[in-house]
Structure formats: structure tokens, C-alpha cells
Amino acid sequence: MMILSGDPPKSRVLTLLLVVIILALAATPFLFPGAKALNVAAKICVFAALVASYDLLLGYTGSVSFAHTMFYGIGSYAIAIALYGMGPNWAAVATAIVTGLPLAALLALAIGLFSLRVAAIFFAMITLAVASAFQVLASQLSWLTGGEDGRSFQLPELLRPGTVLISKSLFGFEVNGRIFTYYLVLAISALMILALLRVVNSPFGRVLQAIRENRFRAEALGFRTVFHLTYANCLAALVAASAGILNALWLRYAGPDTSLSFSIMLDILLMVVIGGMGTIYGAIIGATIFILAQNYLQSLMGVASQAAGESGLPLLPGLLHPDRWLLWLGLLFIASVYFFPTGVVGRLRKAGGGKSAGGTH
């Protein structure tokens, strides 16, 4: 229980689900051959960590931030620019880490001090404004960021697919740089999620929950709420930037579409809500469900759209077109906020008769 910080899943089905997901992720390179499966698995790892860090904000402090992709983007761009500019070596990776992470934390500090000081409602609006300005900035400063095209770069020798670490003759599987990178992503994501679990179960995390339930009362008890909220904002930004670094390392690319766009922000929101706010475990469940659906259901939509088009139905082909994926996502989002505010994790915990999940008002 130490590793879970005394906050176990508290539901047999949920535990089973988590174990299956984690085992599947760990065994993906050997179980499911092919690049797509590995890409999906890596994306699940990165987003599980990213969503967990967002859960720290949304689920535990109750503040809605729209700037989370900005921090994610800062991480992505930091490593992309460093590896692009300094060449594929570890010094560049280190540079990216020591510049990207502090930058994200400082920006989070500035936003937090500025907007969390007054009314919590300002926070959502100001983060949205800052994030959109950052997005414009990233696409305009093309000498640095590559503009709309983004930056592709080469990885250090060790992480390249061509590097064979353990040859096939040893275990019957070839472990190359790509698979090593995957495990790096998996391990760091897992560590970050465990660290977040530690944070939310610390006295600090309890104060955050108290602020979520009643900020005024928390303040009256003598907690400096602005300090706590800003601190949580910085922590979330650090994890998000780290997730951004992992994502860019995996994709060998950073661009507006993969790391900054507003639709990623929506994906994160949806994953948190589907998984269950204020549970951290919800992040893993939400990210898994969502990304699997995104990768395998979207193609189904294309088939359905074509079928509707051929049978001459009006309007349906347009509504079912894979590009309209977001439409259904939005409907799903509204429905889940309305009908399942506690998400999958909350439902499972309730069904298991365990302590009811937090995270709702």
C-alpha cells in the first residue's frame, strides 16, 4: 500500500481493470506487433500522466484550467527545439529538461498568482486567454518553433529504432531503441502518477480538497488558499510539461496539432470526466477508454458515414463523417458531466459499496 500512498482503488472491479490495463501496457511490445499498437499504448501512458496532473487541478482543487495544453506544449517544444538545435545528444535532452520545466513552473506561478488571487472563476477565463495567446505565439515564431509545420528531430542514438539493445537470439524478441523508449515513457508516466497519488493523499492534498469544498472555510481555518492553489497549479504544470517531453520524444516531433491545439484540451477534459474527477485512477481509465475509442472507433465512423451516404440518407453522412468526431465527443462530454459526474471510477466504487468517490460538488 505504500506505493499507492494508502489510497487503493477501493473496488474489486476497478482493481482488476487497472491491473489489466497496466499489464497490457507493459506487454504491448510483445503481445501486439506493429507500430500502431505501440503508438496507441505510448499515447495512453503519456495521457494518463497528463490527465492525472489535470485531475490534481480539476478534481482536487475544483479549478478549471484551459492552459494545461500550454504546459504540455512547453515541454514538447522545449525538447523539440533543443534536439533540433543542438543535435541528437543527451546534452540537448538535459537542456530541454532544465529549461522547459522551470519555464512551465514559472508561467504557472505567474498565472496562479495573478488569477487565483481574486475569484476562482477568473482562473478559467484567464487561462483560456493566456493559452490562446501562447498558441498564436507558437505558430508565429516560426524561426524558433517551425510555425504550423512544427519541428521534427532526431533522437539520441540509444533511443533510435535502429539501435538493437538485445538481439533476437537471446529471448526470441528483439529489443531495440524504440521499445526502450516505450518503456522509458511507461516508467516515467507511472512514476509521475504515483507521485501525484502521493501528493493528493498528503496533508497538502487534503487542504486542496478542503479548498474545493469551501474555499472560505479553508481560509478561515488559517490555510493560505492562494499559496496552496498556486502550488498545485505549478505541480500540475510540471507534470504536464514532463508529459509533453515524453510525448515529443515518442513522436520525434512537436507541432501545434500534437501538443498545443484546443482539441487536446478537450480530450483531456473528457478523459478526466469519463474516468472520474478527483480520483487520479480515473486518469488511467479515462485515457485508456478515450484513446482506444479515438483510434479504433473513428474508423468505424467513416464506414458508417459511407454506408449512410450510399443509402441516400440526408444529413447523416455529414454528421457521421470522421471529421465530425468532436461533435459526438461534445455530446458525450455533456452527457457524462450530467449523468455520470463521478465517472467510471466513481460508479465502480459506488457499485462495490466502497467509500463514495470525491470530486463532485
Binding site: 480539476l58 475544483g62 478549471v64 495573478f114 488571487r117 481574486v118 475569484a119 476562482a120 472563476i121 477568473f122 478559467a124 477565463m125 484567464i126 483560456l128 486567454a129 493566456v130 490562446s132 495567446a133 498564436v136 505565439l137 508565429q140 484546443f262 478537450l266 477534459l269 470526466v273 444529413l315 455529414g318 454528421l319 463523417h321 471529421d323 465530425r324 468532436l326 461533435l327 465527443l329 461534445g330 455530446l331 462530454f333 455533456i334 458531466v337 450530467y338 459526474p341 460538488h361
Partner: protein, 336 residues
């Protein structure tokens, strides 16, 4: 505290003039920086016109927040819907739009704008009932629900009209500029300024001179008290929400004509802009929203002229500066 006799007039509320002077001072400050008076005048007129349009779009948002503590993240959807609905009217009557007669142009534009307002207002009714009523009083869920609503609305527009940009040409008689000496002021901007000013005055009159306005202002200040006095504030709120949505639709039509194109993504860009305006002005304050809109437009126009590179972040800088000065916005109306 001095004693007041019953016959004495009520003490006048203190007038806070500093925010009003802000855009004036900013405009005057720019004269030497820009150098030429004619370009200054053109830029100032452009800022005022743009500011009025932003004000029309933002006014509903700020009132809804002030009155019911509801932050509608989907407000931008009404703007886009308004613009798209206008194309429905303007496209079949393209001939009258191209005709070189002000009256013929207005005879099409007017109904188009009215239809947009009606559709946006009706959509406001649906949104209020379906998305906002169930999560009333819960900020977190409100933000999430209305964000979801924005996505659905935007994607539905894409599905109905397709993802391409729809051109929306200005009527012939509104093209070109009035030339006064060496100052050129686009005709459409004058019209936008007039409409904006009319809307502002109408809102101010309703708020300050009618019983309805009195109730709305009282509701902004203390909702429970108005309810306790027996007024159905929910119905009042629905009315304000629909009016705000209709105004957003009108703003959308005007903005689309200003840009001469319609695209569903306009709601995203404008949402950010009107949020900044509403924050600067102070949530719930119409006057603050008006000044905020003009300030944002001025910074965009002057900034774009003087330091084009800065234009990207100028709005954020403006917001930071204003919030440093007054952390609750120019006019802090609500106690929240």
C-alpha cells in the same frame, strides 16, 4: 453621518470616472506616437467601430454572469450561429446586396440581422433550459457543460454548412469610405459605431430607467433579496440570457460583415476576446464592458499599427495591466 430629512433627495452614488478617462487618455497619448493626425483618426474610428461590435457580443455574457453567477463558455456559439443564419438570408438575395442603393441593401440586411437575433435568442432559450438549468449554482459543471455546448454547436455548424469559409460580401452602398479632407473612415465602420452606440444606450436606458432594469440591477447586487421580495428571478434571468444570446447573434452578423467571411472557428477567437473584455470591465458591469471593449479594440488597432509583433500578446498585456490596477476589473459590481 449627517441627518437626512425625508424630503432631502437621496445621496447620489459616487461617480467613478477614472475608467472612463482611460480610453480617452490612451487615444490622446497615441497622437504623438502615431505622428500623422489622419492615420490617428482612421485608427481611432476603426477602434471605436471594432470596440462597439465586441461590446455587442460581450454585453450579454457580462450581464448573465452578473445576474445569475453563470459563466457561459459557450457564448461564442451564439456569435457563429448568428453569422451563419445571416448567410441564409443574404445568399438568396445577393442581387439586392449588390444593388447600389442603400435602402435596398438595408432592406435585406435588416431582416437578416433580425432573423439571426431571433435564432440566436431561441437557441439561448434551449441552452439555458438544457445545459445551464440542470447544473445551476455549480461553477465547475457550468463551465464544463457550456464548453461542451460550444463544441457541439461549432461541430453542428461544420456538419450543416461544411468546413469551408463562406464569403459574406458587404453591401455595395456600405463599401468605400467617407473622405473628410485626408481622413478616410470606412462607411461600414460608421454604421457599426451607430448600431453599437444604439445598443449601449438602449441597454443603459432599460437598466436605469425601467422597472425591469431596476430588478435586473437589484438581482446583480443581491439575488436572494429580490427573490425574497417575490419576483421570479429565474424568469428574469431567462429573459436576460435570451437577450444576451440575441445580441451575440447580432454581433456575429456585424463581425462577419466586417471580416466579409463566416467560419465556425470565429466563435473560438471571439470567445477569448470577449472574455478579456468582460474581465477587464469587471464581471457584471455593462459600463465596464463598454470601456473594456473599446480599450481592447484600441490596443489591437494602435498596437497593430505601431508594433505589429506585439499585437499577438497585446490583449493579454492590457488585461494584466488593468488587473494590476483593479484586480476585480474596472468596475467591480458583484460582491462575488
Amino acid at each position: 453621518m449627517t441627518d437626512l430629512a425625508a424630503t432631502d433627495p437621496l445621496p447620489k452614488p459616487k461617480r467613478d470616472l477614472a475608467p472612463i478617462l482611460l480610453p480617452v487618455a490612451l487615444a490622446l497619448l497615441m497622437i504623438p506616437l502615431i505622428g500623422s493626425t489622419s492615420s490617428w483618426l482612421t485608427l481611432t474610428a476603426a477602434s471605436l467601430a471594432m470596440g462597439m461590435m465586441i461590446f455587442i457580443m460581450a454585453s450579454g455574457l457580462t450581464l448573465v454572469f452578473g445576474l445569475m453567477d453563470v459563466l457561459n463558455f459557450g457564448h461564442g456559439a451564439f456569435i457563429a450561429v448568428g453569422a451563419y443564419v445571416a448567410t441564409l438570408v443574404l445568399a438568396p438575395f445577393a442581387a439586392s446586396i449588390q444593388a447600389d442603393s442603400l435602402w435596398m441593401n438595408l432592406a435585406v440586411l435588416g431582416p437578416a440581422a433580425l432573423l439571426s437575433m431571433a435564432v440566436s435568442g431561441a437557441l439561448g432559450l434551449v441552452v439555458e433550459r438544457v445545459l445551464i438549468l440542470p447544473v445551476y449554482g455549480q461553477h465547475l459543471k457550468q463551465i464544463l457543460m457550456t464548453t461542451g455546448g460550444l463544441i457541439v454547436a461549432e461541430q453542428t455548424l461544420y456538419a450543416l454548412w461544411g468546413p469551408q469559409i463562406i464569403p459574406m460580401p458587404l453591401p455595395t452602398s456600405l463599401r468605400g469610405s467617407f473622405i473628410l479632407g485626408d481622413v478616410a473612415i470606412a462607411k461600414y465602420r460608421v454604421l457599426a459605431m451607430l448600431i453599437g452606440l444604439a445598443v449601449f444606450i438602449a441597454i443603459q436606458l432599460v437598466l436605469n430607467r425601467t422597472k425591469l432594469g431596476l430588478l435586473i440591477r437589484a438581482g446583480v447586487e443581491n439575488r436572494e433579496m429580490v427573490e425574497a421580495l417575490g419576483y421570479r428571478i429565474r424568469r428574469l434571468f431567462l429573459g436576460v440570457f435570451m437577450t444576451g444570446s440575441a445580441l451575440a447573434g447580432l454581433g456575429g452578423v456585424m463581425w462577419a460583415l466586417y471580416r466579409e467571411q463566416v467560419h465556425a472557428s470565429m466563435s473560438d477567437d471571439l470567445t477569448v476576446l470577449i472574455f478579456i473584455v468582460v474581465i477587464i470591465g469587471g464581471l457584471g458591469s455593462i459600463g465596464g464592458c463598454f470601456i473594456g471593449a473599446i480599450l481592447v479594440a484600441m490596443v489591437a488597432n494602435y498596437g497593430g499599427f505601431l508594433v505589429p509583433k506585439l499585437a499577438l500578446v497585446s490583449n493579454i498585456l492590457l488585461m494584466v495591466a488593468v488587473l494590476m490596477w483593479r484586480p476585480r476589473g474596472l468596475y467591480a459590481v458583484t460582491s462575488r
